[in-house]
Symmetry: C2
Subunit: 156 residues, 2 copies
DNA sequence: GATGAAAATTAACCTGA
DNA sequence: TCAGGTTAATTTTCATC
């Protein structure tokens, strides 16, 4: 918590680590123009404050056979707090659902789902989504080709 | 290229590194039940084959002031190869566009856009998207709350 | 920001199925 | 022969000054 004061050096660190989370601290220090000790202190502070939430390895979906990405817009029958929490809870428990957002407008939830193929997606739609009480309608947009993918947030 | 043969140990490694990319090799070795040397050899192989595409730090969007996530469906005027490539190229050059997919159905492109606030989003819509020749229509779904976010692909 | 002890990485070599 | 284990030199981390 406290003040998420980020100076230029912090942003520089974040920019680098968003691209290469495994860069050794010595090299990172070199890159941002400090010595290793203060660099490490800054990184630890960014971690402790939760500005860096975690470090992950990104896999090539094709090579692990998870090549089909689908964006799903879901509307629920009744907009009760209960129904919403149940739905979100179900999504958290499904490994093929990578992202789930509560939304404004016609769409109640926007999902990003990653599965092996259309067959697996059809099963997700029928056995998982349609089986959740309160789901009124779903609209799926099937991705054919990934033109861009990054997890890196631009820090002006 | 070659054969992306993954055995149970490989999948175990990938599962762990997708959750914590910075786990020391010694600890990873312990976790998967091998000694450090063969563990490291497997990790290097997964990196070289591109199965692990990269290691990244994930930031908390709130704490870096990029709190507004928007999913945009875009349709283009003419479905010419030229027009599509131009559009994709523009998206690759825009830091607020985190993801861009060519899609089946009514939607030509599905975007995931991350900006600071509605004001910044409006500027993106008007100055960037609408300014690209061939963009016929856009439909934005504004995310209010992130219920789930992971980059981790389930490896059965 | 510098120093040095402790830990992790990694290459070279060994072993057994 | 191939995957895993062992060892030891190098590099990195990180607490203390």
């Amino acid at each position: 918590m406290s003040k998420p004061e980020l100076d230029d050096t912090d942003r520089h660190i974040l920019r680098v680590l968003q691209t290469d989370a495994r860069m050794p601290n010595t090299e990172l220090a070199d890159e941002i123009g400090l010595t290793p000790a203060p660099t490490l202190r800054r990184v630890r502070r960014l971690e402790e404050e939760g500005i860096i939430s975690r470090y992950v390895a990104l896999l090539d979906p094709k090579q692990v056979g998870r090549d089909l990405m689908v964006f799903v817009r879901v509307t629920l029958d009744k907009q009760t707090k209960q129904g919403f929490e149940t739905f979100a809870e179900q999504m958290r428990g499904r490994p093929e659902v990578l992202e789930c957002y509560l939304c404004l407008g016609d769409t109640d939830y926007q999902l990003k789902v990653c599965v092996a193929d259309l067959d697996a997606y059809q099963r997700f739609l029928v056995d998982v989504l349609a089986a959740i009480p309160g789901v009124r309608n779903t609209a799926s947009t099937i991705a054919v080709k990934q033109e861009k993918y990054t997890t890196s947030l631009a820090l002006e």
